[in-house]
Symmetry: D2
Subunit: 362 residues, 4 copies
Amino acid sequence: MCGILAAAFLMSESKIKVAVVGASGYTGQELLRLLIMHPYVELVAVTSRAEAGRGIGEVFPRFAAAPSIDGLTFIEPDMDALEATGAEFAFLALPHGVASEFAVPLLERGFRVVDLSADFRLNCPDVYEEFYDHPHPAPDLLEQAVYGLVESRREEITSADLVASPGCYPTSILTPLLPLVRGGLIDASSIVVSSLSGTSGAGKSAKVPFLFCEVNESIRAYGAPRHRHLSEIEQELSLAADRDVKISFVPHLMPINAGIASTIFADLAVDAAKASQLIAEALDGAYAECPFIRIIGEGQFADTKHVVRTNFVDIGWVIDARTDRLILSSAEDNLGKGAGSQAIQSFNVMHGLPETAGLLNF
Amino acid sequence: MCGILAAAFLMSESKIKVAVVGASGYTGQELLRLLIMHPYVELVAVTSRAEAGRGIGEVFPRFAAAPSIDGLTFIEPDMDALEATGAEFAFLALPHGVASEFAVPLLERGFRVVDLSADFRLNCPDVYEEFYDHPHPAPDLLEQAVYGLVESRREEITSADLVASPGCYPTSILTPLLPLVRGGLIDASSIVVSSLSGTSGAGKSAKVPFLFCEVNESIRAYGAPRHRHLSEIEQELSLAADRDVKISFVPHLMPINAGIASTIFADLAVDAAKASQLIAEALDGAYAECPFIRIIGEGQFADTKHVVRTNFVDIGWVIDARTDRLILSSAEDNLGKGAGSQAIQSFNVMHGLPETAGLLNF
Amino acid sequence: MCGILAAAFLMSESKIKVAVVGASGYTGQELLRLLIMHPYVELVAVTSRAEAGRGIGEVFPRFAAAPSIDGLTFIEPDMDALEATGAEFAFLALPHGVASEFAVPLLERGFRVVDLSADFRLNCPDVYEEFYDHPHPAPDLLEQAVYGLVESRREEITSADLVASPGCYPTSILTPLLPLVRGGLIDASSIVVSSLSGTSGAGKSAKVPFLFCEVNESIRAYGAPRHRHLSEIEQELSLAADRDVKISFVPHLMPINAGIASTIFADLAVDAAKASQLIAEALDGAYAECPFIRIIGEGQFADTKHVVRTNFVDIGWVIDARTDRLILSSAEDNLGKGAGSQAIQSFNVMHGLPETAGLLNF
Amino acid sequence: MCGILAAAFLMSESKIKVAVVGASGYTGQELLRLLIMHPYVELVAVTSRAEAGRGIGEVFPRFAAAPSIDGLTFIEPDMDALEATGAEFAFLALPHGVASEFAVPLLERGFRVVDLSADFRLNCPDVYEEFYDHPHPAPDLLEQAVYGLVESRREEITSADLVASPGCYPTSILTPLLPLVRGGLIDASSIVVSSLSGTSGAGKSAKVPFLFCEVNESIRAYGAPRHRHLSEIEQELSLAADRDVKISFVPHLMPINAGIASTIFADLAVDAAKASQLIAEALDGAYAECPFIRIIGEGQFADTKHVVRTNFVDIGWVIDARTDRLILSSAEDNLGKGAGSQAIQSFNVMHGLPETAGLLNF
C-alpha cells in the first residue's frame, strides 16, 4: 500500500466515476462486488432493463449494507441518463452483439470502456461471423480495441479507450501457453485442451439444463469441437507463434459455482531432459512482474478453490517423458480473472493505478 | 473510509502486531484471510504444531501471493518465541481446554487476547464442566473474560483484555432472540431452535463422517438434545430474561462449506395482531447502530449465500398467527460472524478502531 | 420373494397395464424408473404435452436401454388414446388443479387411479380452497378418495379406485407423529416442525431461484407460516388426535437432489422418565408389520442418504429431558416415499400384490 | 425375464453361494447393494477386519431392512471361516497387494474369484512392479487370470476361475477406444485422455484432502503423468493395436460422489470426411451384442448422471475436422461399471447366467 492509494482514499473527489452496464447477471454481480470497495472508484450508475428501479441491495442482498452503494438503484441503459450520472468510464457486462450497441455511443460521448463481451476481442470481422453466426455489428471499432489480457498487452491497454476483456476459457488457456508458444518450446499444432468450468459460466437465465438437479452430481462435456472461444484463443496463439494455429478444445460443465481448471497437452518441441528447466524459465520469466500469475511449479496441479473470488491464475505442469508431451494445469475464477476482476485489472492499468488496486482479496 | 484509516495504511509502525495461535484449521484460515488485508494489523506470528516451519502460502495456497505475509512461516506455539516476534495481541483458534493453557501465560506477558474457543464463554465453571465433561482449566479468569458479542457487550469489550468470542450456533441464535427476550415479546421457555450448519463447523481433522462422499447428498441432525453450545445460549438468554431459561436445540450438518441458518420458534407473549410492529421495533431498535446486523424484515427468510465470507447476520421473521408463534430466521457464516470475523470485530472494538475495519468484504 | 411373484414374471399377460399421465417431471421420472422394472407392471402409456412424440429413452437417457420400454413414446394426454393402449390403471403426476381434470374421466372409463397431486388429499373442499387459493375442481370425488398412506389406511386402499398419494413433507411428518398422537404421548398443540428438502421438490421447471448457482452453497427457509402441505398434515393429525390440531411448520430448501429430513419438536404428555419406553413401544408397535418404516431408535438421527431412491422412512428420536420435549427425526426420499414409490406402494396394495413388489431397491 | 430367472427365484438351493472379502469400503458397499437383490446369488459371507462382528445393516444403514441379509454379520477374513459358510465364489474388494494374499488360498480351496484390485490385471510382473512400486506378490497366477472386460473377453471369462476386474478409469477409456484402435481408425500414439472422477474413487479412508470442505467447490487434476491405471490401459491398447502404445492421461477429482467422464483426443487415421461413418460402424458393430454399452452417437457427449448406479457405459463423439482429430466422450459409474457391477457382470458370464442378471437397475 503506497501513499498514492491512501491519498485516493481521502479525496473522494479524485475517484473515477464508473458505470456498469448490464449489471444483473453473475458477471455484473462480481464487478459490483469488487467496485463497491475499490479505493479509486465511485460507482455512479448500474443499468439493467430487468431490474430498473430496484436498489442494488434489493437485487443483490449480499451488498445490502455496503455504505458505498447507499441509495444507488438500477436504471435503464439509456445513454443520456448514463451521462447525467457523471460517469466517465463504463464496464459493459452484456451479451455479445448487444455490447457493441452501447460501446459505440459511449465512446462517442467520451467514455472509456472495458467490454466484457466477445464483440471486440477478434481482429477480423470474418472470424467473428464464422464463430458468432452473425455479421460483426461494429467492425470499424475493431482496430482501436485492445485485447485486455494485461499480462500480454499492458502497454497498449494503458492508452486504450476500448478494451475487450478476454473470455473465461481463453484466459485460463492463454496465460500458460503464450510464453511457451512464443519461445517455441512446444509444437503449437499439437495443442489439445480439456477445460472444466463452474456453472456460473452459463449465466443467470432460467434454463432447465442449468437447474440444480440437472447440474448437481453431473459431469458432462459440451460445445466441442467448435466452441466460440476457440476464435480468440487461436487468434492469440497464432500471433504468439507467428503462424496459423488451430487447437482442439473441449469444455465441461462442473457442479461448482465458479472456477475454471484447464488441462493442456502439447508435444514438446525441445528435448524432454531439458524441458523442465526451459519451461520453468519461460513461465517465470514471462510473469516475473505480473502480480496475478502464480507459477506453482513443476509437479503441481492448480486447484480452483485456491483462486475463486480472486484475480489469480495458478499455473503448474508436468513433463510426460514417456510420450514427450508437456501437460499444463491452470486454474482461475471464471467470474474473476475470467471476467470481472480481469476487467478491473485493465481499468487499473488504463488509469495508471496500481495494477492490484481493489483486487487483493483472499 | 476516514483519514485515520488512510494514515494507518501509511505508517506500518502504527499497526497492531498480531499473532494467531492455532492457525492451521478452518477458523485459523478465515482469521488469516481477513488479517492479512486488515489495514490496522501487522501479522507477525502464526503458530501450528503440525505446520511449524512451513510458509503460510505453502499451507494455504490461496494466500501465496499476499504481499503482507511475505516470508512469514508457521512457528511452534512457544511463549518466548511469540513474545520475540513483538506481538502484542493474540487470537486463539484452539480446541476448548487447550486455549486456556495459552490464554493464561499470554495475559501474564501483557498480551490482549481474543479466544475463539469455548473456554471463557461461561460465567460458571460448573456449567462448563457439565457441558464439556472436564473441570474448567482456568476458573480464575472467568470473571475477567468478556463474552465477545459486540452487539450485546460493546462497552465491556472496549476495555477487556480477554474476550471470549461466541460460538457459531450461539451467535446465529442469540442475535435474533436477545432483543425479543429482553423486551418480553416472546415466552422464553417455549423457544425451540433448528440450526443448519456448513461442514467447516466440523473442523479440518480427518474423520470418515466428514469425507465428501459422506456429507454430499446427505442431510442429518446430530448432537441433540444437549449440544455444548446450549450452555452459552442459555446463559445469555437467562441474563436477558432475568430468569433461568432452557431451550431445545437441534443442529444439522449441511452439504455446504460454510454458513449457518437458524430457524427459531417461540410462543408470542404479546397479541399476535400487534406482534408485527412490536417485533420490528424491537429488532430495528436494538440494532440501529450495529453495522453487521441486517434486519431483512417480516416475511423474509435469511439465506446463507448472502452472508458467507462476511461478518453479517441477516434476520427475518414471520408471525404464525394460526398458532400464536413467532418464527425467526437468521443466517451467518459459521467461520465469519460465527468465528473469525466476529473475533476481529471484537479486536476492532478493543482498540477503538472503526468496528468495520477490515471486515467490509462482499 | 414368493411363488406368486415368480409366476407373474413368467406370464406377461397377467401383468397390469399401466399409464403414467404427466411423466416428464422429476416425479414422473421416478415413477418410470420403478415401473419399468416392476415385476407385475406392463407400462403401456406415458403422457406429456411437452414431450409427446419423443421416446422415453430420448427424454430420459438413463432409461434408454431398458428392455421393457422398447419403442414406447410419450403421447398427448388424450382420454381415447389412453384407453386405446389397453391401460387399466393410471398414475397422475400432474400439478394440483390439473390432476382432477384427468381423474374424473379416467374413473368414468373404469381406470383405477393413484393421483400424486394434492387434489384429493383433503376431505373438506373449503380447506382445499383456503390453502390452494381456488375452489376445489371435483368436490364430489373427495368422499370416495382414500389418503394413500398405506401405513395408516391399508384396508381402505385395498378396495379404493382413487387413491390420493400423500405429499412429500406430510409423509415425513405424519409417519413419526401419528402413533404418538393417537397414543396421547405428546401434546399435539405443541408440535413444531423443521423440514429440509432436496431441490427436486421444486420441480423441473426453469426458474432462476432453482438454478444450480442459486441453490448450491445456499441454505434457506421458505413458505412459512402457511405452506400448503399444512392442510393435509393437520387433517391427519386431527383425525389421530380426535380434535382440531394446528402446528407450526417451516420447510427449507437444501442443496441436494433428493431427500427430506424432518425434525419435529413436541411437549411430552407423559413423564419424561417413562417416555423412552412408551415412545419406543408406540412406534415399534404401530409399524411392526410395515416393511418400509425403519425405527432406528432412541438417540439416533435419520440421514437422507440412507433412504434416497428407496421407499423407506427412517425414524429416530431423543428425549430432551431438560425441557420435557420429544425430538423426532425422520428421513425419506421426497421423490420416493414422498411421491413415486409411495404411489406404487398403494398400487401394490390396491392389487393385492406383495406390498414391496418392485420397491426393494437399495 | 425368462423362466430360468423365475425358477432361480423360487429355489434358493440353486443360488450361488457368494462371499465378499473386504466389504466395508465404497466398492464393497456397491457390491453388496447389487448382490443382496441378485436373483441368482445367496450372500453367505462378508468380511472386514474393521467391522467384524457388526451386522451389515449396522455398517450400512441403507441395507438395514433387506430381507436377504437378515442376520448376516461381518466376519474376519479367515479362510476356514469363509469355507465354513459354504461360499463357492468370492469377490475381492481389497487394496492391491493384499488381494493376491487371499486369491491364492481361495483358488486352492476351489473358489472361483473375481478380484477387483489391480493385482491380476497385468500380464507382465515387471510392468506391475514399475507402476505399483513393489514386486508382484503372485506372478504365477498372472497367466491364468483373465482381464474382466466382458465386452472384450467374454469367451475367456466364461471358463475363468480368476477374473481381474478392470480399473475404473481403464474401463471408461478402453471401451470407446478398443474398437477404433483395432480397426486402425485412429493413430494410437496420439491418444490423450482427460478423465473426471467422482470422489468415491479415492476410497473411504479418512484423509484431509478428501474431506467435504476440501473437495466441494474444488476442481483439480492429480496423478499425472504416470497414474497406475496407465499400465492396464496401455497393455490393452497395445494388444488391440498389435504394437506398443503409450498415451497421456490426466485424471481429475470431481465434487460428485460417483461417476467418471472421460474425454479422449486422437488423431484420425482415416479421412475426416469418411470418419463419421467409419467410427459409427466400428462402435456400433463392436457393441451390437453388448447390453451395457450405449452408443449415444456423433455430436453427443456422455453425462455421468445418466449412468451412475448402473453398469452402463455411454459413448459419444465428435469429429474435429479443423484439426483432423476425433474426440470421444464416455461416462460410467466408477463404482458400477468401473468396479462393483462390472465384477458382477463377469460373475454372470462365469456362471452362464444372463449377462444382465441383477444389473438392470435404473
